[in-house]
């Protein structure tokens, strides 16, 4: 890929989606390089993302546009442009937005969930802010978290896989770029006693959708969202997990 003058490329792979970011500011390039170190790849042919400090227009008619903190994201089939960006945190937020759009077309999505590895499988704990995702991740002494805030799921030929992401709570960065088969997805409910019950695909879809990162206004993306989340709800075991805020909840998991 041709590199624009004055830009420094950073290639990453998140959820096996290759992305190449082109920075105009060295300081932002260095910060992003540190943040995404665990997800960097030597291959520089990822979907190109051009970042510039100059503000750009928001194409109000485009469903693939998004604005945040004065920065704008514009996406077309060839590239993404992030303009007016000065902070690594804004880069991080807009990268989540962009990835959520790209993943929907590749049978995947980002989910507000913590993912913990145990015995080679991924246990996914989903919930809104305050539901206990970070708590669950921290209460898993014999498990290794893949994420404590934003999880990534993709359907593949051999089934659904949970991928590590660099998107951790409080804008911390993760560095475990691994993928694992999914043991189950648990909707978190804090309670006095631990209890787990399996829920139907329709209940699973109802629990899943509010936790999926989705920013698009296009009918095509909405259709893709419903299609892939319904497929996930039908394919994977879903549970409602009432849990105490200690590690004992692991004992009730199937």
């Amino acid at each position: 890929m041709a590199q624009r003058p004055g830009t420094a490329p950073l290639s990453v792979s998140i959820g096996q989606v290759p992305l190449t970011l082109f920075f105009q500011e060295d300081s932002l390039f260095e910060k992003a390089g540190r943040r995404y170190a665990g997800f960097s790849t030597p291959h520089s042919s990822g979907f190109p993302i051009f970042l510039s400090p100059e503000a750009g227009p928001l194409h109000a008619t485009s469903s693939a546009d998004y604005s945040l903190h004065g920065a704008t994201l514009h996406v077309d089939s060839a590239a993404a442009h992030i303009r007016g960006v000065h902070s690594e945190f804004t880069v991080d937020s807009l990268l989540r937005v962009l990835l959520s759009m790209i993943l929907l077309l590749r049978r995947g999505f980002l989910l507000h969930a913590a993912t913990v590895e145990r015995a080679g499988r991924a246990y996914i704990f989903m919930g809104c802010s305050g539901a206990g995702k970070s708590t669950v991740a921290s209460l898993s002494p014999s498990g290794a978290p893949l994420s404590d805030e934003i999880s990534l799921l993709r359907a593949g030929d051999s089934g659904w896989l949970a991928h590590g992401t660099p998107f951790w709570g409080e804008f911390r960065s993760g560095n475990r770029n691994a993928h694992l088969p999914v043991a189950g997805i648990y909707a978190l409910v804090q309670a006095a006693e631990n209890r787990v019950e399996e829920i139907s695909p329709r209940e699973a879809l109802r629990a899943l959708l509010p936790n999926v990162l989705f920013f698009s206004g296009s009918a095509e993306q909405r259709n893709a969202l419903l299609c892939i989340t319904a497929e996930c709800a039908e394919a994977l075991p879903f549970f409602r997990l009432q849990f105490r805020r200690d590690a004992s909840f692991w004992e009730v998991l199937p």
Partner: protein, 103 residues
């Protein structure tokens, strides 16, 4: 003498093309275009939704509903009209005037 049939406005309901929907466990779930909220329909409403393709009038759908769920026609008409209005209010459905067919 048979009981008078309820009057149904000559309209054709059409699903909003911007609404995403899918059948899961035998019922229809729809994501609304404005706010991406999930709407779940019951079996009767799912039946009416699936026939709201612009091909049939509300009265024709009500007749199919009466046959399928073995309810009397006035009840089917009431259910159909109520649901169509609700779906239209949520912008999940558009209702167009049906052409009067002479034959």
């Amino acid at each position: 003498m048979s009981a008078p049939q309820p009057a149904v406005a000559p309209v054709r309901p059409v699903q909003n093309p911007l609404a995403a929907w899918r059948e899961i466990e035998g019922v229809v779930v729809i994501i609304s275009p404005e706010d991406s909220v999930l709407h779940e329909l019951n079996p009767t409403a799912s039946f009416i939704w699936k026939h709201s393709t612009g091909e049939r009038t509300a009265e024709e759908i009500a007749r199919l509903l009466a046959e399928e769920f073995e309810v009397d026609f006035p009840t089917a008409v009431a259910d159909t009209c109520e649901l169509l209005q609700e779906l239209q209010r949520r912008n999940l459905l558009q209702i167009t005037a049906a052409e009067v067919r002479h034959g």
